[in-house]
Amino acid sequence: MQNHPHQPNKLRRLMLKTMMALPATMLFSNVATASEVNSTGLAVTDDTVTVGILHSATGTMAISETGSIQAEKLAIEQINASGGVLGRQIKYIQEDGASDWPTFAEKAKKLLVQDKVDAIMGCWTSASRKAVLPVMEQYNGMLFYPTFYEGLEQSPNVIYTGQEATQQILKGIDWAKETKGAKKFFLLGSDYIWPRTSNKIARKHIEKLGLKVVGEEYYPLGHTQFNSVINKIKLKKPDVIFTTVVGGSNVAFYKQLKAAGIDLTKEKPLVLTLSVTEDEILGIGGENVEGLYASMKYFQSLPNDNNKAFVKAFKKRWGDDIVIGDVTQAAYLGPWLWKAAVEKAGSFDIDKIRKTLPGIELTTAPEGYVKVHPNHHLWSKSRIGHAKKDGQFDVVYESKELIEPNPFPKGYQ
């Protein structure tokens, strides 16, 4: 949450001045279109508009972020094929954040200051978003951020297309209580802000429901020795292991869980995760997570028509053996939401786009239907997926209504 006032956009003024200084002939044509769509200072020409794609193409995060890059490129290509935005074809400039937070900040600045992009689709980890955020606010950019995350943030310059913590957690725990009769929870996570905040909210909610947390443990990112905590879990006999372990650690965790004789298909204990998507299962192996439950808003197997078309197009573009996880779908929403907002505003001007974004809806979203809340997060459904041997999820629960995003949940902080 930022309280400082926005600085006047010097660049924009400078650009305007240069445009004034252009020869009269050019001035006429430029100003005519500029006033039509109000694209002052941005990389918008008569027939193209430029956006930025900022993810890690190299480094440790590349494996996770590749799906997002592919989704964003696909969305842009599809929008172009259907006529573009306000009659302009979208060009993108891709930059590599290199899994390094200072690099993310540098590249974001480059995209805004030098390339003058109208929007940036990007980031994955909270660390990269936190690094990019001050840049977005300083230069008045618009970031479409695709990952489910911890909440506690709301920026006028970011649209959060993934779920915030309460949308994933509260319904997940309710579901475990109501349909599985769970009473005792064991919380486990990687040691950084997202798992810690998620587990904090989970604990509050569990206690609110009159249930019990029997253990809470954290391990560093990349940790691969879970045997001692598995022993603890066996001793405490929880009904649910609630995990927010991320990335490669999951491979070790689920293999060791299986080796320790905990069979996920028996659901004793039941494992509920916020962080294992189809992408991670590729690494873990479907046979090791069969029976796992995941609380997310999107699964590749969602049976609606939007999703069928999306999966088909995605595979056609990027290969048949590819899987699509929750974040990949959220990344796909970015360009589409931006397009919808630009068209409604009739302008590429960031301030106008920002004003129109609340209330923008997508009926064509693979996850079904989404709408932008005034707090810049999406209304979305909560879903529980049940992992199968082939690495896909069966959707066993879907909230009837869209869940209102609430990045600053009262009573959960």
Partner: protein, 371 residues
């Protein structure tokens, strides 16, 4: 007497090199580039501080430290802590459960500022810490190693291990350090907004001037008796020891100096980039810092600055042009440099450019004499 001493400290070539460098950094680059690029160059130059320190400790003293990121981080975090406290005034952090403490502490359920953060409310203490912390740290590491005559590869490995330990510590203690996110969203220095373009200009020039002062200091050390002793030590430690010198003290001293240089670079990095993160202090960045010095030429203090500048520049340009392949290009560049020019850029200069310049100068002088 005084004059000859001065002359030996600053031979004509060095004065010319210094003036050329100063002209490039203070005039040419600010004229040629807009503030976005200039700010990036400022960032590259913060690594030049580290490379300068490495030329002294590694090039001259033969002490290869693969953990200079430690010192870069000490300076960077000290500055970041000061700026973060300034950015976390109770008004700015109203929405937190505990207003008045940095946001990441609030997320980690800390309810009061840890004691070791308290002194960083003071700018004076922060500046003191930027010099004192790396010196103290380097002294402890140096004393523990050099007094026991641990050197060479073993020393390099141990510094690397310390860099790894420090990174793990920072990431693990996220309530106190910001963890893997680092310390972000730094805004003002004594109420002066460091994110504006004008502030970036000012910080760039402050950075360059500091760098030039550091360079002069490095040159002074290099030309002094101490510098000659260091070279002697590098080439034959035992002979120096048998001559009655306490080798370990000299080593500790130069290692401390290199640490302080890196720390100044880290502090300037935080000011110019606007945040500090553990990704700048671990093993990989520490090795990169050695590469800057190696590309420049590990014996040349001017080379160090050009090395840091050129390698980082290449990194930026390559990654902008080939976002998916640039790492390979960088790797190829390093291999090429090491194979083709083992003495780095300074080596190329010495073997090719300088003889040519000398020849031309002599020709001019000859002409003058003939007239």
């Amino acid at each position: 007497m005084v004059q000859t001493k001065l002359r030996s400290l600053a031979p004509k070539n060095d004065v010319i090199s210094f003036l050329i460098l100063a002209a490039i950094l203070l005039v040419a680059l600010p004229v040629l580039f807009d503030i976005f690029r200039l700010n990036l160059i400022g960032k590259y130059l913060t690594f030049a501080f580290v490379a300068l320190g490495l030329v002294l400790s590694w090039g001259l003293g033969g002490i290869l430290s693969l953990g200079q990121g430690i010192f870069f981080g000490l300076g960077g975090y000290a500055m970041a802590m000061f700026l973060k406290l300034e950015a976390s005034s109770p008004e700015n952090t109203q929405i937190q459960s505990t207003p008045g403490i940095p946001d990441f502490m609030d997320w980690n359920q800390l309810t009061e500022l840890p004691w070791f953060w308290e002194p960083f409310h003071s700018f004076g203490f922060t500046v003191f810490a930027i010099f004192a912390l790396p010196a103290l740290f380097a002294y402890i590491i140096g004393a523990a190693m050099f007094k026991r005559r641990v050197g060479g590869v073993y020393f390099a490995i141990i510094t690397q291990a310390i860099a790894a330990i420090l990174t793990i510590l920072i990431i693990g203690q996220q309530g106190f350090t910001g963890g893997v996110n680092g310390i972000t969203d730094l805004r003002t220095l004594h109420g002066w907004d460091i994110r504006t373009d004008s502030a970036k200009y000012v910080l760039y020039f402050v950075n360059v001037v500091l760098l030039l002062i550091t360079l002069v200091a490095a040159q002074y050390i290099r030309k002094s008796k101490l510098g000659r002793l260091l070279v002697a030590m590098r080439d034959s430690e035992d002979r120096v020891r048998f001559s009655g010198y306490d080798v370990s003290n000299f080593k500790i001293f130069i290692f401390c100096i290199a640490g302080i240089f890196s720390s100044i670079g880290g502090a300037m990095f935080t000011l110019q980039v606007g945040f500090m993160s553990p990704s700048l202090i671990g093993i990989v960045p520490s090795i990169e810092m050695v590469i800057f010095a190696a590309v420049g030429g590990n014996l040349s203090i001017f080379g160090a600055i050009y090395g840091a500048l050129i390698v980082n520049w290449a990194k930026t340009i390559l990654s902008e042009s080939y976002p998916e392949l640039w790492l390979f290009a960088m790797g190829a560049l390093f291999i090429a440099v090491v194979l083709a020019f083992p003495k780095g850029l300074a080596g190329i200069y010495e073997s090719h450019v300088q003889p040519w310049v000398d020849k031309k100068l002599k020709a001019i002088q000859k002409k003058k004499a003939e007239k």
